[in-house]
Amino acid sequence: MKKRVKIIERDDVVVKFAGDSGDGIQLTGAQFSDTSAFVGNDLATFPDYPAEIRAPQGTVAGVSGFQVHIGHKEVQTPGDLADVLVAMNPAALKANMRWLRPGATIIIDIDNFDSRHYKKADYIEDPLKDGSLEGYNVVEAPITEMTRDVVKQFGLDARVADKTKNQFVAGILFWLFNRDVKIGEAFLKDRFKKKPDLVKANLAVLHAGYNYAETVEAIEATYKVKPAEKGAGLYRNMTGNVAIAWGLVAAAERAKRTLFLGSYPITPASEILQELTKMKSLGVVAFQAEDEIAGICSAIGAAFAGCLAVSSTSGPGLSLKSEGLGLAVITELPLVVVDVQRGGPSTGLPTKTEQSDLMQALYGRHGECQVVVLASSTPANCFEYAFEAARIAIEHMTPVILLSDGYLANGSELWKIPAVKDLPEIKARLVKDDDPDYKPYARDIETLARSWALPGQPGLRHRVGGLEKSDITGVISYDPYNHEKMTILRNDKVAKVANFIPRQEVIGNESGDLLVVGWGGTYGALYTGVQEMIEEGKSISLAQFNYINPLPNNVSEIFRNFKKIIVCELNLGQFASYLRSKLPEFNYLQFNKVQGLPFMISELKEKFNDVLMTPENHGK
């Protein structure tokens, strides 16, 4: 019998999946995201998982989460608060209660809510009975029990059977969002194409979940989110790490260079290495080195031999690569180092996000040792900035550090697929064989970049290395004036990159009461917060930086048109300090957060409103 429930049409909805780290939460989240993209919703995702592979079951510390924000309207963040929470156990409920919107729908696996389980999650009383869920639409679904019943016929062992319960959840969600369950079927057939017996079991469970939702009385309303208006084209759901890998492959093709990656596995950057090891058909040489140092040093060797050379890592690895970066600076070879930042110092919070490697990227080397520093700001534009990092490295013969972070790395959004021919050509500064005028350290006037002569080329034999070298000839020199000259040349070369990058943009009016300044991965939250306040009639704008060193040429022009400037970052104020040193004529307010979590839009707006209401003029 078909029941009648109201359908709520929404511009956007936030769904959070949470459970033990072995519950298939990430898979269910990915499936829900793909389905959303398939029906044309805009989306942003945020996986949030513990550092342990299988953290203690049923504990709050072991909860793995995956948040998806889907929209008819433009979606820039995974959302502050969830409209729907799927909690596979009491710990998942406990960990997520404070991130729920009032009146949210909570789907729980009732089979895991006995006293043993809720005590494990440090509940003293049964959370279903203690009144804490009042005002929410709680759906107590016997997910484990019903899944086991359904898969019995397939003769799977209990362990494998329990792994299919995420499809029961998926089935409920298909019904809850008024979606065609056939999309879910296609996902499973593709996902398990090498294991046909698992397809059957998962399909049966998916349908069971859908049918359960259709018949159960507990669900008060379902959601409908219309397709987004993103513009025609081919899209895909893209995570930051994959986008970086692909951006580098695209850059190698546009530079007509072999892509070489020398890397050592490290959370949360490992996917870049893994992704590039799959690119052999495109001629990518991905080398898993014995340590971080060998990662960068092999890349430097490959750069000397003519590759687009890359080393990917996270904070602790960047520390180990410092000496290598210095070598790349003095040998003036193109090199891209990708740092996917995580909570630090030391091992810190390996699976959580932070922006605290900025100072290390800018200054973490001995000697006068400038490198170009870029930061990507959305999962999808990791492609663009990986490409840009490669372009600058090759055209300016300099190491470039690209800063990403854990939030961008694992988070995803819809990305409009470009045609490679539309990407700019990257012009390597190669030398012709037997060029009689070749001098290893002669420079281009505009960029100060030297030329790139490759071992194997006739007539160009030369040596590079870590010792100071003479201007133009490149032979070793201990001459004091030469050293000063070379130091200045190397610094100027990096500074001159500012002439070859886009001007800094402002979102909102070009002048006003408050300029919000951010950099890198905080873009989504800052953009959404500022945009909402503009709609509320506030005099507020946003400048989100992707080019950190050098800064774009027009920053001062922008800053001087605002009464107040507030720099928001997920650290204790590193970009603010940097701006103070570069543009000391302005006063910078700060908003900082170091919890291993991204900004919430609500906390940003609260701060901005406070600043706008404070009478003193903090501006110039």
């Binding site: 397709p227 495109l282 080195a289 430097i300 050379a309 070598l327 007539g459």
Partner: protein
């Protein structure tokens, strides 16, 4: 490697003389390499010398090839990148006992384990020269040096042992006083497909003079050096009257003609054997009971990393539907929007 380009010793000489101390073993090694390279038939443009930091690591500046003077201990990693980027290059790593046994120990063992087609010249003078006389990982136990005024309390590494432990397939040992031996062995190293490690027992005239004198001096070298050649008996001594036989699991020195020992009883050196048990015993031979094993001790064929990597790439390319980056970007789950 094509053999259409004849090179001469002169092709590899630099205008400026090498800046090692007068009498340093480095000069002889450089001369031997400059003589060996023309005999390998490798084009001069394809040779790359890579190094770390230390006296030995100045080598790339003194030879006319492509060169990369790297970071302390990291030459092996830089060389790896160069070789993987362009496997057609003939890549030579020059390193010292401090550079590769201490700070670069990790890269050193992994290079041997992976078996990239890279040649390593390990200058072993058993001392830190460029930092002026501290003990190194190969300094004999008890040695008084700048950093061990009361004698070292560390057991030294034997590079050959380390090479075997890291599954090295080519190991040779030469002395810096024997130009002909160095040249012969360097040529064999160049021709070996895979990582070839040549330990050069090198003298440091300033900080560790005569450290190898027991092996290299005119009076003692015939009796204290066992110059091994594949397929030849393990004979040594002024008149090749001494030889090695095996008793149980140990070697024994015997004199041909004494106690009924015939020349046929002497062990024949087999450098090609995959089983490295005897190679391991040979690299460990030590004074005063035994002579020191010299020459190519081990040279066996094994799969080479760079070959395998490029073979794998070709195989994947032939099977994959992703031929261009556009193919990649449009692969898997995509969503068309209107």
């Amino acid at each position: 490697m094509e053999n259409n380009c004849i090179t001469t010793v002169q092709d590899f000489k630099m205008e400026q003389p090498a800046k090692w101390c007068p009498g340093c073993g480095g000069h002889a090694v450089l001369a031997a390499i400059q003589r060996a390279l023309p005999e390998t038939g490798i084009e001069k443009e394809k040779v790359v010398f890579v190094s770390g930091i230390g006296c030995s690591s100045r080598f790339p500046y003194y030879i006319n090839t492509y060169g990369f003077h790297g970071l302390h201990g990291r030459g092996a990693a830089i060389a790896t990148g160069i070789k993987l980027a362009n496997p057609e290059l003939s890549v030579w790593l020059v390193t010292g006992d401090g550079d590769s046994m201490a700070i670069g120990g990790n890269h050193f063992i992994h290079l041997l384990r992976r078996n990239l087609d890279i040649k390593i010249l390990l200058f072993n003078n058993k001392i830190y020269g460029l930092t002026k006389g501290q003990y190194s990982p190969t300094t004999p136990k008890g040695s008084v040096t700048k950093s061990s005024p009361d004698g070292t309390i560390e057991d030294p590494f034997l590079p050959g042992e380390l090479a075997m432990g890291a599954q090295g397939n080519f190991f040779a040992r030469v002395v810096d006083t024997d130009l002909e031996m160095m040249k012969e062995v360097f040529i064999q190293a160049a021709r070996h497909k895979g990582t070839a490690l040549v330990e050069v027992l090198q003298n440091c005239v300033i900080f560790n003079d005569d450290i190898h004198a027991e092996i290299t001096s005119k009076e003692l070298r015939a009796e204290n050096q066992l110059y091994l050649k594949h397929g030849e008996p393990m004979l040594f001594g002024k008149n090749k009257e001494l030889g090695l036989i095996q008793e149980g699991t140990r070697f024994k020195v015997v004199k041909v003609g004494e106690n009924g020992v015939k020349k046929e009883d002497i062990l024949i050196h087999n450098a090609l054997d995959h089983d490295d048990t005897r190679d391991y015993m040979l690299v460990r031979l030590s004074r005063p009971e035994f002579p020191i094993a010299m020459g190519v001790i081990r040279s066996c064929e094994a799969s080479v990393y760079d070959d395998m990597m490029y073979k794998q790439m070709a195989e994947v390319r032939s099977k994959s539907s992703i031929k261009t980056v556009d193919d990649l970007l449009c692969s898997g789950n995509t969503f068309s929007m209107e």
